[in-house]
């Protein structure tokens, strides 16, 4: 699936993704404030299938899962970053949103169209007709992701 890249910097924290002051007000309200400082108008600009490309330590801060949920609500297809904060990474896989490490953020541009290929661990840069390598997701997490997240994964197990 093709989408455009939203290029972000280092240390995008959970309060930027899902601000604490809107935490009691539901996912729609939270999503309206998603990345309001880091990428103004993000909720209005994002379309189904778009891709987040962050720098180092993406998702640092709180354990709040809403930080992942808002991205799912806004139909982001994958979060790529140079590195992830541990809890965000686990939450993302658990909610079935692929979180993939890519060290090379020098060859992607904000707004460019890409095709995310999870099977082959690569990101195809459509306009440039080339691809960059993504780090593979560990096997135990791939199983969860393939089932669509932790809950469908557990449902299979509990049955």
């Amino acid at each position: 699936m093709a989408g455009k890249i939203f290029l972000l910097g280092n240390d995008i924290d959970t309060d930027q993704l899902a601000p604490g002051r809107f935490m009691g007000q539901g996912i729609k309200k939270l999503s309206e404030h998603c990345l309001e400082n880091a990428y103004p108008n993000f909720p209005k600009l994002v379309k189904r299938g778009d891709v987040i490309f962050g720098g180092k330590n993406f998702g640092t801060g709180s354990s709040r899962e809403q930080a992942v949920e808002v991205l799912k609500f806004l139909k982001i297809s994958v979060v790529i970053a140079q590195s992830f904060a541990g809890i965000f990474y686990r939450n993302s896989i658990n909610l079935g949103l692929p979180a993939v490490v890519c060290y090379d953020n020098l060859h992607v541009q904000d707004g460019e169209i890409v095709d995310f290929d999870l099977k082959n661990n690569q990101l195809n840069l459509i306009e440039k007709n080339k691809s960059i390598k993504l780090e593979s997701i560990p096997t135990n997490l791939m199983e969860i992701l393939n089932d669509g997240g932790l809950i469908p994964h557990l449902k299979k197990r509990i049955k």
Partner: protein, 421 residues
């Protein structure tokens, strides 16, 4: 086989003789802690969807601390939902008694060698008691509540060795802010941090909790401190059994260890400028920065010892007329103890406003959130943009001692000047 403290606890929880660094194992959870924000309201629909019952209600502790005194209808609804869920599910519950990371150990739920998960990122606080405790999200928590298990990748250990002696007025918070600046917010690499050295041994349990708590700000999975006599005494005093605490330490020459050395004797009070804990500087480099609000609160900044040192600075002083000092003791119990020892009276006499025992504005909750363009010095853990209120507000992080001194002086200042007299 030689093992780190982290490996020892994980191997016990995984029912294995030995676990290797980097290996993914399934561990049995000794205890799960959830709060009103990420807890019942979030896990209940997931458990329903799963068609699963609680694996073991006696291993679950619920604490309401986030929406306490929120002053909103939605907040009250969440609190009531929490209360109903606890009643239905027969779990241990502490309602509006204080912040989970302080209430949990004070009630004797954390002991050396335990493997514990918490539905909050600052769950790393449990490391101060020699427990392998870390934060997880609600979906993963629902999985734990249903199965009693969780996967963990056996971490490397980053030893942070603090030798020397902290000078008077320099606190655990200063150590942490310094480390955030030095190692960065991803310096912990989601591995295990372990604090050690003479300066750590000298710290009280409250101060050790501040280190473990803010290991989250270093991006570590856990922030461990090997239990010692102080840990055992603390637990015995509150009626908890410290168990075989002497077994839990990092072996010499265990594998996967990285060690950093620091000298506590030369550490100055630190202040982190907006909008990251990693923007820390010695206080001398940003003295005289003006703020309007001084906040002493949170699990990392308003425990008994935090209140105690702040009161020593505030005693016989008045808060500057351009500053509002807000104090939110981390738990009811700590506040009671502070009251008995005359500490709350000192705050009141100095002109402070006392707020409820809850997460409050540290996490952007409650009626006292920062207004637009407000500048605040705070004893909390995070100063991310907009976290404590309006997105135009600015927060400087510092120790409760530095916050108290700033409240008197009117702009950011070194607390040691007030402790000499």
């Amino acid at each position: 086989m030689r093992m780190s403290l982290a490996q020892k606890i994980i191997s016990k929880a995984a029912n294995r003789e030995f676990v290797s660094v980097g290996e993914v194992v399934t561990a049995k959870v000794d205890l799960a802690m959830i709060h009103d924000s990420g807890g019942p309201r979030r896990v209940s629909p997931i458990l329903k969807d799963l068609g699963a019952n609680l694996y073991n209600p006696s291993k679950i502790v619920v604490v309401s601390d986030h929406f306490v005194s929120s002053g909103t209808e939605s907040g009250e609804k969440i609190l009531n939902f929490t209360r109903d869920w606890v009643k239905k599910n027969n779990t241990t519950f502490y309602d509006s008694e204080g912040i989970c990371h302080v209430v949990l150990p004070n009630k004797g739920h954390l002991r050396p060698g335990m493997f514990v998960v918490g539905g909050d990122s600052h769950s790393t606080t449990g490391g101060a008691f020699g427990a392998y405790m870390f934060g997880i999200g609600s979906t993963e928590m629902a999985g734990v509540l249903a199965t009693g298990e969780i996967w963990v990748k056996v971490p490397k250990t980053i030893l942070l060795n603090w030798h020397g002696k902290l000078s008077k007025g320099v606190m655990a918070k200063d150590i942490m802010l310094y480390l955030c600046g030095k190692l960065g917010m991803d310096g912990g690499k989601y591995q295990a941090i372990e604090f050690m050295g003479q300066a750590i041994k000298n710290l009280s349990i409250n101060e050790r909790m501040t280190l473990s708590n803010m290991s989250a700000e270093l991006g570590a999975q856990v922030g461990l401190i090997a239990p010692d006599n102080k840990t055992a005494d603390f637990l015995t005093n509150i009626g908890a059994n410290p168990g075989n605490w002497k077994n839990f330490f990092t072996d010499d020459k265990a594998t996967g260890i990285e060690k950093h050395n620091f000298n506590a004797s030369i550490l100055e009070p630190q202040v982190a400028t907006p909008h990251s804990p990693s923007n820390s500087l010695p206080v001398s480099e940003i003295e005289n920065t003006k703020v309007e609000i001084a906040y002493i609160g949170a699990c990392t900044g308003a425990k008994y010892e935090d209140l105690n040192i702040a009161s020593k600075i505030l005693k016989n002083n008045k808060i500057h007329n351009k500053i509002k000092l807000l104090v939110a003791p981390a738990s009811l119990e700590e506040q009671k103890k502070a009251k008995q020892n005359g500490i709350m009276k000192i705050f009141e006499d100095a002109g402070a406003f006392i707020l409820p025992n809850s997460c409050g504005i540290c996490a952007g909750y409650g009626a006292h959130r920062l207004d637009p363009n407000i500048k605040c010095i705070s004893s909390t853990a995070r100063n991310f943009k907009g976290r404590m209120g309006d997105k135009t507000s600015k927060v400087w992080l510092a120790s409760p001692a530095t916050v108290a001194a700033t409240a008197i002086f009117g702009s950011i200042t070194d607390p040691r000047d007030y402790l000499l007299n």
